[in-house]
């Protein structure tokens, strides 16, 4: 993004991004593709709300409606929310702990490209015979009965992108365990780093069950096995268990990093140390831990029996406790602070009541007997949109405003930001608040229309108008991004003026090696401490200026992921009698993947050194180098 980059041709920039292993550029890749999928998912949401705008509408057919709700949920969770969070984790976490990159830069790139090709593969279903239509939860009894290849696109696409996510999780864990700067003890880590850490641990343990479930699904549909085929002794409930053993931790994988972003915002814009930092850390760990013990609250109506239901109901209610602790810590951080109402801060403040509402409905659903009434109704839709939109999406929007200057070196317009905020916030409550009542009145979820005599017209119309408001908010955000990029007004290290952690001590965007000298950390909010003591540089250093070792870029991650993408088509058409070439495609695809893995393993890749002299040159130019030898 420096003047150097702008002079480069398009081809060179493209090649640079295809081969990059720099966590900051990979963050930008995640941001762009996650943002793209967010728009796709948003478009699908608008189609759903148009269909439900009035009774007996025939805007969408029943079958197409099923495909759209399935793709909306799947896209939003796997291809929008997660990658957007991974974008901020990549961009910020290594800076917060004073590291020069993540532990495995090569794998970081591989993780991104796997996610990317998995997402593209899934969405190609629209153009290749129809999208999946069994809901984002893809229950086996529906999925096995679904005709065409939609479900196969789902299972194969999510398998590929799931590998990418798993790799990213392992990478962040190792980075945080091994690469913290001297003095950065665990209990001095910023909260966003902590939540990244716990979310990554959840990824590590939650994605394998999903992968196995998807494998069974692929085998059953494409290779004639019988895991879920009841006549052959199979059992469809196995899918539900595997899916939710993944699925509940997944919702915490989404919300914890958002909690982290909000924690940073509350501290920065209240100009106060986080209240109860230690409690916040332990609440985060506890939530991660309990997250694995509550999955069957999604299955109260399956018939697991009263004992199982009671146990899981209690476990679920307990999770609300650490979540409540966090809410009070944030409130007490704001309390008595010198508050600056930036856009990011306004999002954070709006998040608190919105998310609490979602938590309350969650606890209601945790009451198993009540859930018999609520399950599969619009009440559930209202609940999870309150936690996901009111928590995760508000967190992402807040994070975009907060970290945009650090990622791109320019400030998003606060004015337009406020416009987006108000449209989005009002639209959000307009859309989803009323859905609680629709649910209580008996409107089922995932049904493509309703009758005029059911009395749901007005509420559905209000809900659809709300969706329009949110869409306007997002369009204003896009305009904001374009204007900001065109104006290109550069900002300094600490554009908010009140940065507390290491990322604000270095240039925006940082040089590709992040820290010319590794910083020495003297406490929680280390940059703040240095500022308060009048240290102009904002850091003290743990080492003298010297040569820095950096990893080489590589095209192999892209090629490996492309191989998986090719192989997935082979698997998809394997059973079709009309497509005898499928086996060859499968073999070629796997050959590309394993071949490039072998090349990676056999070819030494020792990285390169930036010399001390180059670093001094860089510092004279203001540190904003592009990252090329």
């Amino acid at each position: 993004m420096s003047s150097l980059a702008q002079k480069k041709g398009f081809g060179a920039v493209l090649w640079d991004y295809l081969t990059t292993v720099d966590h900051k550029k990979i963050a930008i890749l995640y941001l762009i593709s996650g943002g793209f999928f967010f728009l796709v998912g948003g478009l699908e949401a608008m189609l759903i709300r148009i269909q439900l705008m009035k009774a007996g509408n025939d805007f969408l057919s029943a079958g197409l409606y099923n495909e759209i709700i399935t793709m909306h949920g799947t896209t939003m969770i796997f291809l929008a929310a997660m990658p957007l969070l991974l974008a901020f984790m990549n961009a910020i976490m290594p800076l917060q702990i004073g590291a020069r990159d993540v532990a495995f830069p090569f794998l970081n790139s591989l993780g991104f490209w796997l996610f990317f090709f998995g997402g593209i593969f899934l969405n190609l279903s629209w153009f290749m015979g129809g999208a999946p239509d069994a809901g984002w939860t893809n229950y086996a009894s529906l999925a096995l009965a679904s005709e065409g290849h939609g479900i196969d696109f789902y299972a194969l696409g999510l398998t590929i992108s799931g590998f990418g996510t798993l790799i990213a999780g392992i990478n962040f864990l190792v980075t945080i365990i091994n690469m913290r700067a001297p003095g950065m003890t665990y209990m001095r880590m910023p909260l966003f780093t902590w939540t990244t850490f716990v979310a990554s641990a959840l990824i590590l343990l939650a994605f394998p069950p999903l992968t196995i479930g998807l494998f069974f699904m692929i085998f059953d549909r494409l290779f004639d096995s019988n895991f879920f085929v009841v006549e052959m002794g199979g059992n469809t409930i196995i899918w539900e268990h595997l899916f939710w053993i993944f699925g509940h931790p997944e919702v915490y994988i989404l919300i914890l990093p958002a909690f982290g972003i909000f924690s940073e915002i509350f501290a920065i814009f209240s100009r106060k140390r986080l209240f109860g930092y230690t409690a916040l850390v332990f609440a985060t760990i506890l939530i991660g831990f309990y997250g694995f013990m509550v999955w069957a609250h999604h299955m109260f109506t399956v018939g697991l029996g009263p004992t199982a239901n009671a146990v899981f109901a209690l476990a679920t209610m307990i999770i609300a406790v650490p979540t409540g602790i966090k809410i009070f810590n944030w409130l007490l951080t704001i309390w008595g602070g010198s508050i600056q109402f930036s856009v990011a801060m306004v999002y954070a403040i709006a998040f608190i009541p919105s998310f609490v509402a979602g938590g309350v409905t969650g606890v209601m659903q945790a009451i198993a007997p009540l859930d018999y009434q609520l399950h599969d109704s619009y009440f559930i839709v209202a609940h999870f949109h309150y936690v996901i939109v009111g928590g995760v999406v508000l967190g992402l929007l807040a994070g975009t405003h907060l970290y945009w200057p650090k990622m791109f070196g320019t400030m998003l317009s606060e004015k337009l930001g406020m416009v987006t905020f108000w449209f989005f916030f009002i639209g959000f409550h307009l859309t989803f608040f009323i859905q609680h009542f629709l649910g209580l009145f008996g409107m089922p979820r995932r049904v493509y229309t309703f009758n005029a005599d059911q009395g749901w017209d007005l509420y559905n119309l209000i809900s659809s108008v709300g969706a329009l408001f949110m869409a306007i908010g997002i369009i204003v955000l896009l305009v904001n991004v374009v204007l900001t990029t065109v104006k290109n007004v550069r900002v300094g290290n600490d554009p908010w003026g009140d940065g507390r952690t290491l990322e604000w001590a270095i240039p925006s965007p940082p040089p590709f090696y992040n820290f010319a000298q590794t910083p020495l950390v003297r406490g929680l909010d280390t940059y703040w401490i240095e500022k308060m003591e009048g240290n102009k540089e904002g850091m003290i250093y743990a080492e003298p200026l010297g040569d820095i070792h950096m990893p080489n870029g590589s095209i192999i991650p892209f090629v490996m992921s492309f191989g998986m993408f090719v192989a997935a088509f082979g698997a998809l058409y394997f059973m079709d009698d009309t497509k005898p070439w499928a086996l060859a495609v499968l073999v070629i695809g796997l050959g590309i993947t394993f071949g490039s893995m072998l090349v990676r393993s056999l070819k030494d890749d020792l990285g390169f050194y930036i010399t001390k002299e180059e670093l001094i040159e860089d510092a004279k130019r203001g540190g904003n180098t592009d990252g090329h030898k």
Binding site: A103, V174, F216, D224, F227, M232, G233, I238, L602, L606
Partner: protein, 208 residues
């Protein structure tokens, strides 16, 4: 790290696998990967137990009738022994004795290949009895659990062989020592999984 730096048995560090930052990262990352693998196999075991002996009504195959212990016991012994020989290989790696390490790795690979051969023979035998992959829920769960383990064995063997060939001429250095170490760690993990398969699938299967 300087890949061309020559070491002697004296200058070689006690823990070459974690002597560099790259090595440390790989070490921690690999243990985390094994945690994920553990959850993977736990899911497969749980499914197998849920679907054991389940099939179309009137199915004649049961674990008790199908499995025979002698062959599987031999396979178990072979794989356990290969774990031991890989320990010897790592012992020599830590003493910077490249030749001895290669030799023991070679033996490990041979044992692993024997195991794989016997497993293929066993699967083939069941298929001829009519107990194929698509036969029933029981057969699907069995082949996917044991087959996933087999695929891990195949991958582990390929990894050993690739490392042995790639480094045959240049000996041990700080760059490849962590790689050998991790391949051996992976091999132990595969072995532990097999002990569970032997117990849960075969022993508990035969007992009924």
């Amino acid at each position: 790290m300087d890949i061309n730096k020559r070491y002697t048995a004296q200058s070689w560090p006690d823990h070459p696998e974690t002597a560099t930052l790259e090595g440390k990262n790989k070490f921690v990352g690999f243990w985390l990967l094994l945690a994920a693998e553990t959850v993977t196999f736990a899911s497969l075991f749980a499914t197998y137990l849920a679907l054991k002996d389940k099939g179309p009504s009137g199915m004649e195959f049961t674990a008790a009738g199908l499995f025979e212990l002698p062959l599987v016991f031999a396979m178990t012994m072979i794989l356990l022994t290969s774990s031991l020989t890989s320990v010897y290989a790592m012992y020599h790696m830590k003493n910077h004795n490249f030749k001895a390490m290669q030799a023991w790795l070679g033996i490990t690979v041979l044992l692993g290949l024997t195991f794989l051969g016997l497993e293929i023979y066993e699967f083939n035998h069941y298929v001829h009895l009519g107990f194929g992959f698509t036969h029933s829920a029981f057969s699907s769960a069995f082949y996917v659990l044991v087959g996933t383990h087999g695929a891990h064995v195949l991958f582990g063997l390929s990894w050993f062989i690739a490392l042995m060939i790639r480094n045959s001429k240049r000996g041990l250095n700080m760059y490849n020592a962590p790689k050998f170490y991790l391949a051996a760690l992976y091999w132990h993990f595969i072995d532990v999984v097999w002990v569970f398969i032997f117990t849960v699938v075969y022993l508990m299967g035969v007992i009924g």
